[in-house]
């Protein structure tokens, strides 16, 4: 195995005051990020927020205008070659060759990482099995499904067993099952000690995978915290209760506490914040004891929109 050792460092990625403009459009307005070795940072933001630009700078594809960025202890602008030896990248677009088979792609990249012929062949086979592509190994990539293509893309990024992996919206456009499969692969890589910086538009994805979430909007990091802390900041899940009878609404609200509850969208609906299953059970118990009949129960999870609404409202 062609494992590349580097000097020990505690932060795999360290970004300070990163700026970048395209013409008169400022895309990054001073980004600060830290990704501790062995952890996963999710860069969460809408289209055009600067996620991809950040990843392109960190993977040496794009030169920054200002600020500093080190990856694996190497400066991305001055030590590009050293950075490229340490990293793997899966970008939004297809970064594998559709006219080649899965196996040919992996062997090509293994060769370009300068593994010997036999080693390259073995490495390709290993990755095909690990990413559940062995059955399709000798088919052209153009015939792959979206999920298979992303898995191959990820496998191609793992050819050199990189210590630091950049995944730019790895699950955008995938169906839920393919997404879940890719998540489990990402978890395995993380468990194996790989440091991962992942960009996503999906709060759920960041929540599922990340040790830390940096929310980026308009080229700035507007929040950088653990998933739990961010969700607390945004507000808990809300319980939406639809009662059988309109006249039960005041009784229900007094049983649960006027201050904690709010009228819902429908006239028989009330909503309240819930913290976990115990709170939910307790709430339903209280209503039962008060003789209120609940017709329908729904939970509303804070969405990315809510996160942005909250965060940009704080920033403004």
């Amino acid at each position: 195995m062609n494992v590349i050792h580097s000097t020990s460092f505690t932060d795999a990625v360290l970004v300070r005051g990163l700026t970048k403009s395209f013409g008169s459009t400022q895309v990054l307005a001073g980004i600060d990020l830290t990704v501790p070795t062995g952890s996963l940072l999710a860069l969460l933001g809408p289209n055009g927020s600067g996620k991809t630009t950040t990843v392109r700078i960190l993977t040496t594809l794009l030169a920054p205008d200002g600020g500093t960025a080190t990856v694996g202890g190497h400066d991305v602008t001055r030590e590009g070659v050293a950075v490229r030896r340490l990293i793997g990248l899966t970008s939004q677009q297809a970064t594998v060759d559709g006219l080649l088979t899965g196996r040919e792609n992996l062997e090509l990249f293994a060769g370009l990482y300068h593994l010997g012929r036999r080693q390259a062949r073995r490495r390709a086979q290993e990755l095909l099995e690990r990413f559940d592509l062995a059955a399709a190994a000798n088919r052209r990539v153009a015939t792959y499904s979206g999920g298979m293509r992303r898995r191959l893309d990820l496998a191609a990024s793992m050819v050199s067993a990189p210590r630091i992996l950049f995944l730019d919206e790895p699950t955008t456009g995938l169906d839920p099952r393919s997404r879940a499969e890719l998540w489990s692969v990402i978890r395995e890589l993380l468990a194996g000690g790989t440091t991962i910086l992942l960009t996503t538009q999906y709060l759920e994805e960041a929540d599922q995978l990340a040790d830390r979430i940096a929310v980026i909007n308009g080229g700035r990091v507007v929040a950088d915290d653990s998933p739990a802390a961010l969700k607390r900041q945004v507000g808990a899940e809300r319980l939406i209760l639809r009662l059988s009878r309109t006249e039960d609404v005041p009784r229900a609200r007094s049983a649960l506490g006027e201050a904690e509850t709010r009228p819902g969208a429908g006239e028989r609906e009330i909503t309240l914040a819930v913290q976990g299953p115990d709170h939910l059970r307790h709430t339903l118990d209280l209503l039962h004891r008060a003789g209120v009949v609940v017709e329908h129960v729904a939970l509303s999870t804070p969405t990315l929109n809510d996160v942005f609404f909250e965060l940009t409202a704080v920033a403004a």
Partner: protein, 258 residues
């Protein structure tokens, strides 16, 4: 030394990749095998009867073969612009650029693969020509020089194509280059004698690169007088390669980092 070996290995892998791709695209196969034969048949049977070869005194098939060899190799070489634009517009270039390989190996890989394919295409055209009655009169040394001229032409066109592909960046615009390269021989002494053209066209024909290259090939393959055309050909081919390669290398670095 080991760095040079590594780079040579990278180049070899990229050339194999490009040739594999080409073999798997139906268009690519047609351009490199069937098209040269079709062009040759077209010129000899369809146009040949109606065109006189002027003062050269050659049979039309002998007159036109050098130009068809250049068309056959040049058209496919020009399509290299599409191949590199393809790499640029797809995300493939991102992966290639994050690999620990020299940036120049990617465009060079396209050029080398193109030379291999398109010299072969010229070879198919030559086989078709012989089947149709082309009777060259050349020594082994003449053949070797003729091969060098065709290879040089394909190399020059491939390098210019890579430069063009990097400049325009879209695959559609990249394709336009192949029309220029396909039609340039018509405006030379290669298809009809330049002496039969109106003055303006004749001036163009006599001063564009295809005319001396055709004259050199005629001299080598048909025992015609060489004159200064050999030197002019060498100058044109060397010039095109020496200008386009460094600019393409520079552009590639800039294009992929923007």
């Amino acid at each position: 030394m080991s760095a040079a070996l590594t780079a040579a290995g990278d180049l070899h892998r990229l050339v194999v990749r490009n040739l594999r791709r080409e073999l798997r695209i139906l268009d690519g196969l047609i351009v490199n095998t069937a098209l040269p034969v079709i062009i040759m048949v077209l010129f000899v049977y369809v146009f040949g009867g109606a065109i006189t070869t002027g003062s050269s005194g050659l049979a039309y098939i002998d007159f036109v073969v050098p130009a068809v060899l250049l068309m056959s190799g040049g058209y496919g070489a020009a399509l290299t612009a599409v191949n590199i634009a393809d790499d640029l517009t797809a995300g493939m270039i991102d992966r290639l650029r994050t690999l620990p390989i020299g940036g120049w190996t990617v465009p060079a890989g396209h050029v080398v693969a193109s030379v291999i394919r398109n010299v072969a295409a010229s070879g198919f055209a030559l086989l078709a020509a012989v089947a149709l009655g082309f009777r060259p009169d050349a020594t082994p040394a003449d053949w070797a020089l003729a091969l060098a001229v065709v290879t040089g032409y394909v190399l020059a066109m491939s390098s210019l194509a890579v430069l063009w592909g990097l400049l325009v960046r879209s695959t559609q615009a990249a394709g336009a280059f192949s029309f220029v390269v396909l039609f340039l021989p018509y405006l030379s002494d290669g298809v009809v004698p330049a002496e039969t053209m109106p003055d303006v066209l004749r001036d163009f024909a006599e001063n564009q690169p295809i005319t001396p290259i055709v004259a050199t090939l005629r001299s080598l393959l048909l025992n015609q007088p060489m004159g200064s055309s050999g030197a002019v050909t060498a100058a044109w081919l060397a010039g095109m390669v020496l200008v386009s390669v460094p600019i393409a290398a520079l552009l590639f670095r800039r294009r992929t980092s923007a």
